[in-house]
């Protein structure tokens, strides 16, 4: 990546804002991304898609500037030679076969028909659609469609890949395969942006995240570092068991646990200041209690509580 270090970064956003009338999509956002897989996290309406549309030159920033490889994408389409974009839109040309679809779009990169066909069958193979390249897109499942969209974004071997909610609506099997595709691309050294509103999905792909909230950049950095901060905050663990009261007795003696509650019949809620420590003692206590535990949940271990925490910290 020595070559890239001399170049402008893949993505450089400088104090960009975008508002639609009274509604703010992106608010004074500055960001530079170059290399690796970056998860763009945020609840629905946080501005993830607006950010991507700004990067893809589909909309124009109201203020500030957007640069892809140093070029303004609104004024110039040249960066797209090096960008692959998977939009959130589900619409494809239903009457085309997968190979047709990918190779037609590949030709828009200036490939010959033969090159396009060869590259397309290669990327369709890469996303695991070898068996269905001659099948019409109208007959594809949701997961297959997402993979076709990824294939078309990869066909020209881009340096920057932007994926808007690529896992949205996919079944677990498709999720796993798409995640592994993304991880593999990251290992190839490409700059990848993946958006999601589900923390767990991003966690399985990358550690490097950007958190957006109400159009603002809320946090940027390593997911685990953010998470450790969060862990030191009071946290709840919800245990469904036969006898919550006897189990509570065992927990209250442990150091990281500072309180218990019984929200419902057969349910125990323990409160901790250190989530990872609590999780490490949990198995031994369960064994000691000799009770049948039906489930253990972390209601606070999601994006919402992460956001709540980060917002409180910011105040």
């Amino acid at each position: 990546m020595t070559m890239q270090s001399k170049e402008p970064p893949a993505v450089l956003i400088d104090q960009a804002s975008k508002w639609y009338g009274q509604v703010i999509g992106i608010n004074d956002l500055s960001l530079a991304i170059d290399g690796g897989v970056t998860g763009v996290l945020g609840p629905n309406g946080a501005g993830k898609s607006t950010l991507f549309k700004l990067m893809m030159g589909r909309i124009k920033p109201s203020q500030g500037s957007i640069r892809l490889f140093g070029v303004d994408p609104w004024a110039n389409t040249s960066p797209y030679r090096r960008v692959g974009y998977v939009s959130e839109s589900e619409k494809l040309y239903e009457w085309m076969t997968a190979l047709d679809f990918v190779s037609t779009l590949a030709r828009l990169h200036g490939m010959t028909r033969e090159e396009a066909t060869e590259r397309s069958s290669h990327v369709l193979d890469f996303v695991g659609l070898t068996d269905v390249i001659h099948k019409e897109l109208g007959k594809f499942s949701k997961g297959m469609r997402q993979r076709v969209k990824i294939a078309h974004a990869l066909v020209h071997d881009p340096d920057l890949i932007i994926l808007d909610e690529p896992l949205h609506g996919c079944d677990p099997l498709a999720r796993t395969s798409i995640m592994s595709v993304i991880r593999e691309l990251g290992e190839q050294g490409k700059t990848i942006l993946v958006s999601s509103h589900i923390l767990e999905e991003i966690e399985r792909i990358t550690e490097q995240i950007v958190i957006l909230h109400n159009g603002r950049l809320l946090a940027i950095g390593n997911l685990h570092a953010i998470r450790d901060l969060l862990d030191k905050h009071p946290h709840r663990i919800l245990i469904n068991c036969e006898d919550p009261r006897s189990l509570a007795g065992l927990f209250i003696e442990e150091d990281p646990i500072f309180g218990v509650r019984f929200p419902r019949e057969g349910q125990l809620e323990i409160h901790t200041n250190n989530l990872s420590a609590a999780h490490s003692i949990l198995p031994s206590i369960v064994v000691k209690s000799k009770q049948k535990i039906s489930s253990i949940e972390n209601p606070d271990d999601n994006l919402e509580s992460l956001l709540n925490y980060l917002i409180k910290e910011g105040q």
Binding site: I59, H109, G110
Partner: protein, 570 residues
Amino acid sequence: MMDKKGLDLSETVWTRLDRKAGAIVELTMRQLRHRISTWVVLGVGALLMALLLSFYVDSVRESFEPIDNDGDSEDNDGDGYTMGQERKYGTPDWDPNVFPGASIFIPESDIDWNDAERTFSANKSWEGRAFFEARWIDLEYSGEWWDTHIEWNPDASGIPDLTDCSEWDLDEIYETIWRDACDLGDQDGNGLTTYYVSGKWRGDGEVIVPEGMYLNWGYWTEEVYVEPEPPEMYINEDGIDCFNGLSLRGEGWEESRVDCPSDVRLGGSHGFDDDGDCLAMNDGLGDDDNGNGIRCDVQWVAPNGVVTDIRSDDLVDEDPDEQEYIGELGHRTFVIAVGKMAFVILLGLFIPLFLSLGLVRDETENGTLHLLLSKPIHRAEFIVYRLMGYLAIAGTYVVTLSLVVGLIASLLGPGDQIIRLSDMPVWLGIGLATTLVLAAYGSIFNAMGLISPKYGVYLCIVFGIWEFMMGSFSIVNPNWTVASVSISHWALQMIDAMVLLAWPDTIQWAEMDNAFGIDSGLSVFWQPPVHTLGTASAGVALLNSVLVLLIVSVAWVFIAKSVFSRREIM
């Protein structure tokens, strides 16, 4: 040399551009092929052409049959003689009693109000008012109801039975008896009865015409039988005659006859009144309506070797052979009318309305635009390639359709050869004019779809109505300046110019159409091109029109581009 992507540097920007264009053009064509509305509108177009061709078979071809253009093969008064024959004999074609060979009244003399001598004795046919001492009366003498023939009311022995007015004074007689007669008895005792008569009668005797009254007399000729001529004689009986040189009435004019629509452009005095109906006008003096001093001729005006006006005297060359003239004229009229109305105006407006309005707009609405715009392709390029894809389908369609219709029409058309090769450039011109119209409208409709995705279709319909009206006006009067603001006007000009290039004698045909009353409608649908920049050259008009249509198309691509480039795509 390879660049960092491993692509050969011999690949220039142009080859890449070419491939992008190819991909979008192909995508557009495939998309259009997958839409039902495409097939519906193209199918309706083909159906329309089939309908027009069946109309051609039904009525244009029928006009190749002999037609009595001047109507002189009809016998309007039912006397058994055609108008043509009655004209020749100088009898009217509205009076069944007057026909060739019929007995006619020859007037001989009269006594009018100021004659001194007021008595006359003879056997005559009389008309007027008089005292009549009758030696013999023709009791059978009668006529039409409106005539004033006297009804004598004879009794069984043949003696007229009339009102007795022998006791009346003269004033009473004059006032009471009108279109009638009365009995004054034997006034002088010579055995002959005297009557007062007011009207028409025939008889032998002495008339006394009172002062201030009027009487005329004469006789009726013998009726002779004239063979009625067959009506066919008066169909195509007076063809268009031209003469090589000006020896119209000179020696050997028969030998100098040539075909009128010949390669040699003919000016001067031509025409011959084959059926003699012109020569019979003005009591046998003939007609000189065109005022060139030569009676019953046709003046061909050809200032630059091209016949631009034909002025004929009445009833000269007025019934030409249809096979020869109306066939050709009707065929050309059909070709031009179909080219202008069906191709340029109807197909030209409806195809883009269905195929081009949504070329870019529908991609936005379907949500598939992001697929294309995330590629290194400018929005302006995108518009141009989309329009090219649309034109590849629509243009191929109209050019093919025009050539197919042209081929069928040329098989059906008049002429000795099986296929009229000279038609083909005209049909090709029609196809190209329609293609350019499709480009211009396509560009405009696409822009309107982008300017207002929601109401663009209404803008297009309003615009289409304007174009339809201006097109119709342009057909009738291409000189009208306002119509030249419209697009259809220039495409119609293209056809006018192409017609003149492929069939240079069309001006002459149009003049012949007007001059000889062939009534093919050619000059309703065709007029010489007007935008020749003063050169009177059809080629200039053609280039001029092509240029205008191209400029309009490109200008609207720029308008669409400036709208689309600024548009944010959600």
